[in-house]
C-alpha cells in the first residue's frame, strides 16, 4: 500500500491531555507512557459503515422518541450542522449519535443521583446519518446544567454528547457540544481540559435565528470536524483531490 490516503496525525496539543488533574477521575485513568505513534495501516483506514436502513424515523427526534404521555418539558431546539473533514470536505454517511440530560439537568441513568426530576417523556438519546453533503439535524429540548462530584461545587454547562463514525476507524471521535453564551462553560473542569480557547469555541454551537422554527423551536448550528486524509501531490492518482 502506498503512502496515499493515510489520515493526518492527530494534533494532540489541540485535544485534551490524558492527565488533567482538575478533572479528578482522569488522574487514575490516564496512561503515563507516551503513545506509540504509527502511520495508519489498513486496520485504521477502514471502518464500519452504517446504512440508513438501521435508523428509525424518530431516532433523530428526542422530543418524540421516548414520549409516553406528551412532549417532554423544556425549550424545544433543533441542532443541525455538517460533519466535515480537516480538508473541509463533507463526510457523507457518517453515523452521529447523541445523548444528553433533560431540561432539569437530569440523566435517565440508574447511577445518576442528582435531585432534579426525571422527565417521564424524555429518554435522552438519538442518532442519525449524514446526508450526501455531510449534513445532519435532530430535534430535542435544551439540556440543563447540573452539579457533579469533583470539587464540592462543580457544575457542567448545558451540553450534548456526540459520538461520530467517519469512514475510517482512525476518525472515531466522542466529544461534547456547548451552547453559545453559557457562562458555565468557563467554569467547567472538563471543558478546561482543552488547552486552547479557540478549540473550546469549536465545540460551542451558535444560535441561528434564520433556522429557527417560528413559534416552535430555536436552532443551534454545530459543525463537527473529523480527521482528514493526506493526498500526495506528485502521484498520478490524486486520491481525495
Amino acid at each position: 500500500m502506498s503512502d496515499q490516503g493515510s489520515y493526518y496525525q492527530r494534533d494532540r496539543s489541540w485535544h485534551p491531555a490524558a492527565l488533567t488533574p482538575q478533572y479528578k477521575t482522569s488522574v487514575l485513568r490516564s496512561p503515563q507512557y507516551p503513545l506509540l505513534s504509527l502511520d495508519n495501516t489498513i486496520s485504521e483506514m477502514t471502518g464500519p459503515r452504517f446504512g440508513h436502513d438501521r435508523i428509525g424515523p424518530l431516532d433523530n427526534d428526542l422530543i418524540r422518541n421516548f414520549a409516553k404521555t406528551g412532549d417532554p418539558i423544556g425549550q424545544r431546539i433543533i441542532v443541525y450542522g455538517r460533519v466535515l473533514d480537516e480538508n473541509a470536505r463533507p463526510v457523507p454517511g457518517a453515523l452521529v449519535e447523541f445523548w444528553q440530560a433533560n431540561a432539569g439537568g437530569r440523566y435517565r441513568h440508574k447511577k445518576e443521583t442528582y435531585l432534579a426530576a426525571i422527565d417521564p417523556n424524555f429518554g435522552g438519546c438519538g442518532r442519525t446519518i449524514t446526508d450526501e453533503e455531510g449534513r445532519y439535524w435532530f430535534r430535542t429540548i435544551k439540556p440543563g446544567a447540573y452539579p457533579w462530584p469533583n470539587g464540592v461545587n462543580d457544575w457542567r454547562p448545558a451540553h450534548i454528547h456526540f459520538s461520530l463514525f467517519g469512514h475510517a476507524f482512525a476518525q472515531r471521535l466522542i466529544t461534547q457540544m456547548y451552547f453559545e453564551g453559557d457562562p458555565m462553560i468557563w467554569q467547567c473542569p472538563i471543558v478546561s481540559t482543552i488547552p486552547d480557547k479557540a478549540a473550546i469555541d469549536q465545540l460551542t454551537a451558535v444560535l441561528d435565528r434564520n433556522a429557527t422554527l417560528p413559534m416552535d423551536a430555536l436552532a443551534y448550528k454545530f459543525d463537527i470536524v473529523l480527521r482528514g486524509r493526506r493526498s500526495t501531490m506528485f502521484e498520478n492518482r490524486m486520491e481525495g483531490n
Binding site: R10, V27, P31, Y33, S37
Partner: protein
Amino acid sequence: MFQKLTTLKESPSQTAGPYVHIGATPNWVEITGVWKEDLGLVIVAPETKGERIIVKGRIFDGSGNPIRDALVEIWQADAAGLYNSPEETRGQADPTFAGWGRQPTDAVTGEYRFETIKPGRVPYRDGRPMAPHITFWIVARGINIGLHTRMHFGDEEPANAECPVLARIEHRFRVPTLIAQRSEENGMPTYTFDIHLQGEKETVFFDI
C-alpha cells in the same frame, strides 16, 4: 503577512462521561423502545466463516480496580484478513461478518465480552503481514480522548515475532501487554485481554 492554510482543525475530544451508555447502549441502561437493539452487540452470524472465539477482559485503573463504566469497541478483519468496509480495496469481505462490536464493561465485575471470530492477517503499509489482531477503542468517564490499542493472539507466536507493528515497541517488556492468552471456557476458545491504564503492566496505546 502570509496566506493561510484552508485546512480545518479536528474537533477536540471530550470525555464520554459516566452516561455514555445512554447514547451507545440505551437498551442496556433500560431506555427501551427508542430503538430495538443496541448497535454492535452481534458481530457474527451463523454462516460467518472462521473460528468462533470469545474475547473478554477487564480494564484496570491506576489503583488496580476494574473500570465498571467503560465502553469498549472492537474493529477487526474477517477470517480471510479483509475488512467489512467500503474503504477495503483488496477484495470483498465476508458479508455476514460485521467486524465491529461494542460492549459496555459489566457494572459489577467490570468485564467486557465479545463473541467473534479469529481474524486473518492483514498487510502492513509495506506489504509485510501483520500478526492477526483486533483493534480496541476504549472510552469512559475520566478518559479525555478515546484510547486506541490492539489485541494480539498468544497462540500466534511466529506471526507475533515478525509483526512489523509489534516490532516498533521500543521497550520489549511491554509487548506482552498486547498479547491475549488462550484458554477454553465451556468448550469455546477464549482469549483474555486485560487492559491496564497505568502501572507496571500499562498497556501500549497507539497514536495512529
